[in-house]
C-alpha cells in the first residue's frame, strides 16, 4: 500500500511539473512575436538587500517599477545577493534567462560585473556607485553629497549639544563624501558642532546599526544621521527623544517624532532613459553622475520637527549649489588631523572625488578611516 501511494505521489509531482512547464512555455512563445520592431529588452536587477528594506534597495525597486510602468519592459530581480562570487552566478543566471540589460546596485558587485561584461559582450551592464568601465559596462550614481550637505544644514541648526552622530557602513569614497559634505553643511551654520562617526561594517543589519546609534546617544549626540540601508538609527533617536536625519527614502513614517529630513534617491527617470537608449540602439557606456539639478537625488521635505529658519537656510544653500556658486569641494579644506587636503581656490574633480584616495575625514569629524 505504502509503495503504491508513493508511486502515485511521484507521478502526481511529475504531472504537476509537466503541466506548469507547458503553462509557462506559451507566453514565452507569444513574446517572440516578430510584430515588435524594436529589439526585445529584458532587464535584470541585482540587489544587495531585500526590496522591502525601507531604504537603498527599495529606492532602486521603486525605480524599476517606474521603468516597467513607463516602458512596459520585462524585468527580472534578484534580492539579497552577497558581494561575493555568488553575484557572478546570479548574473550568469540572468543572462541565461535572456536578460540583455543588467543593473547591479551595489559597490561590491564591481569586479563580478566587470568579469561578466567580458564574458557577455552583447549584454549591457550598468553598475551603481563603482568606478570600473568597459564598452558594455557603464557606471551610474548620484551626487548624493549635495542633499547630504543640505541635511547637514538642518542638523547643524537643530543640535543643542553641538554633538551630531553619524552611523556609517564602510570606509569607501561614497560614504566618506557623504560624511564630509554633511559635516561641511553642519559647520556652515554651526561652526562649533562636531560630527562623531561610528562604522558598522554592514549595510543591512538593523540591530547592529541601532547599537552604533545607541553608543552615539550615550556620548551625548542629539541629532543622528545615517549611511545605512536600514533605519535602525532613526528608531534609536525616536526612543531617546532626540532628532534624526534619514537616508535613501523619506523616513518620517519610521520615526515621526525624530525625523527631520532625508537625502533621497529617485532612480526611475534614469532607468527609463537608459533602457530607452538600449531600445533605440543609441546606448553607450558612460559614467553618469547626476546631481540635484537632474532630479536623481533630492532632499525630502522638512518635517515639523525641523528647527525654525531651516527651510530658508536650506533653500539658500540649495540655490547656491544648483547655480554652481557653492561647489562644496572648493578649498581651503582641512582634514580632521589638520592636514590641508584642498588648497584655497582649488575644487576637487570628479575623478578625485570618486578615487580610492578620497580616504580622509573633514575637519569637525570625530572618527578615523581604518
Amino acid at each position: 500500500m505504502k509503495r503504491k501511494a508513493s508511486i502515485f505521489l511521484v507521478l502526481l509531482m511529475v504531472m504537476a511539473l509537466v503541466v506548469t512547464g507547458c503553462g509557462s512555455a506559451k507566453p514565452a512563445g507569444e513574446a517572440q512575436d516578430p510584430v515588435n520592431e524594436q529589439p526585445k529588452v529584458k532587464v535584470g536587477f541585482v540587489y544587495i538587500g531585500p526590496v522591502t528594506d525601507g531604504g537603498w534597495t527599495e529606492a532602486h525597486e521603486n525605480g524599476r517599477k517606474y521603468l516597467v510602468e513607463k516602458l512596459g519592459v520585462e524585468t527580472v530581480i534578484r534580492e539579497n545577493v552577497p558581494e561575493s562570487s555568488e553575484c557572478e552566478k546570479v548574473i550568469n543566471d540572468m543572462v541565461d534567462q535572456g536578460c540583455n540589460v543588467i543593473f547591479a546596485t551595489s559597490f561590491g558587485f564591481m569586479e563580478y560585473v566587470e568579469k561578466a561584461a567580458q564574458n557577455y559582450p552583447d549584454v549591457k551592464f550598468l553598475h551603481c556607485s563603482g568606478f570600473k568601465m568597459a564598452d558594455n559596462m557603464g557606471v551610474y550614481f548620484g551626487r548624493m553629497y549635495e542633499p547630504r550637505y543640505l541635511s547637514g544644514v538642518v542638523a547643524g541648526l537643530k543640535t543643542k549639544t553641538n554633538k551630531i552622530g553619524y552611523v556609517a557602513a564602510f570606509e569607501i569614497p561614497e560614504v566618506l563624501r557623504g560624511i564630509n559634505a554633511f559635516t561641511m553643511g553642519v559647520r556652515s551654520v554651526n561652526p562649533k558642532a562636531t560630527v562623531s562617526v561610528k562604522w558598522t561594517h554592514t549595510w543591512i543589519d538593523a540591530p547592529r546599526a541601532k547599537e552604533a546609534a545607541k553608543a552615539l546617544l550615550n556620548e551625548g549626540c542629539d541629532v543622528l544621521a545615517q549611511h545605512q540601508d536600514a533605519p535602525g538609527p532613526q528608531v534609536a533617536a525616536e526612543e531617546k527623544g532626540v532628532w534624526s536625519v534619514g537616508y535613501n527614502m523619506d523616513m518620517t513614517a519610521i520615526a515621526p517624532k525624530a525625523h527631520l529630513t532625508s537625502p533621497v534617491w529617485n532612480w526611475g527617470p534614469y532607468y527609463v532613459a537608459q533602457v530607452q537608449a538600449v531600445m533605440d540602439g543609441t546606448w553607450k557606456a558612460e559614467n553618469y553622475w547626476g546631481g540635484m539639478n537632474e532630479g536623481i537625488i533630492n532632499l525630502s521635505p522638512l518635517t515639523e520637527n525641523a528647527p525654525e529658519g531651516a527651510q530658508e537656510a536650506v533653500d539658500k544653500a540649495k540655490t547656491a549649489i544648483l547655480s554652481g556658486e557653492n561647489k562644496i569641494w572648493t578649498g581651503p579644506i582641512k582634514d580632521n588631523t589638520g592636514v590641508e587636503r584642498v588648497p584655497a581656490g582649488v575644487t576637487l574633480t570628479d575623478e578625485q572625488l570618486t578615487s580610492m584616495d578620497f580616504n580622509w575625514l573633514v575637519e569637525g569629524v570625530i572618527g578615523k578611516v581604518e
Binding site: G54, K198, T202, A215, E370
Partner: protein, 313 residues
Amino acid sequence: MNTTAIVFFLEAAIVSGTPLLFATLGEIITERAGNLNLGVEGMMLMGAVSGFYIGLISQNPGLALLAAMVAGAAGALIYAVLTVSLRANQVVTGLALTIFGGGFSGFMGQRLVGEVAPESIKLAFKPFVVPVLGQIPFVGKIFFQQDFFVYLSYLTAILVGLYLYKTRIGLNLRAVGENPAAADAASISVSLYKYAHILLGGALCGLGGAYLSLVYVPAWQENVTAGRGWIAVALVIFATWNPYKALIGAYLFGGLDIIGFRIQGIGFPVSQYMIDMLPYLVTILVLVVVSLKKSQENSPPKGLGIAYFREER
C-alpha cells in the same frame, strides 16, 4: 572609558545578548534531547515575522509573544517530524529549516514593509525599573532597568537550569540525549521527549526572533536576525550545554558584538575589523579549550545527532 560609559556599555550588552540567550536556551533544550537543530536562524525569523504580524494586527503584546512561540514551534515541528519520526539526517534537515524560515519570513514580511510596531506594544516592552533591585548602584542600572523581555530571559535561563538539573523530567530528558536506548528500556517515551523538547526549543528561538522585530528594531526589517541564529548554535558549545553558562556566554557575545562602537570614539589603537572578528575567534578558542580538557560535564550529549531506531538497540 569612564564609569558611566562602562555602565552604558554593559547595559547595552545585556540587550544585545538577549535574543542570543533565548535562541541558545532553545537550542540547549533541543540538543539535550539528542537532536542537533541547525535551523535556529530559520525559527528565529519565523518567530520574528509572526510575532510582528500578529502584534500589528491585534495590538496585543501577549498575543504577539504567543504567535512568535507558536511560529518557532511550528518550524521545529517540521524538523521533529523529519528527524524523529522519519529519521532524516539532522544536519541537512536543520539547514533546510534555516532556508525555509528565511523564505517564510520574507514572504510574510512583504505586507509588513515600512510598518512600525504599534504604540501599545512599544509601551508594553518599554524599559522599567525593578523596585529595590533597580536601585542598587551599577548592578541595578545594568541588569534591572531593562524591558520585560530581558527579565523574561533571566527567568527562562534559571527555569531551564532548574528543569534540567533538579527535576525528574529533566533527568529523563538528559538520559534521552545521552543514551536513548537505555532511556527507552527505563520506559521513557523517547519520541515524546524528543518531540516535546524540540518544540519547546523552537518556541524559545521564536521568542528570540520576536525580541529583534518587536522590541529591538521595532519596525519590520527583512532578515532581521542577520546570522544571530548561527552565533546561538556556537554559543551552545561555548556554554557546554549548560543554561547558566549560556547566560554568561550570551552577554559576552552580545558585548563583543557592540564593543567596537564604544571604543571607536576613544581612539583605541586596534582596527575595528579585528574587533568585529572577536566573537568568532572566541568561539574557536573555546572549541579548542573544550576539546583539550575532555570531561564528562563539558562533552556534548552522547546521542546528539544520531537518529534513534528502537529495533536497533
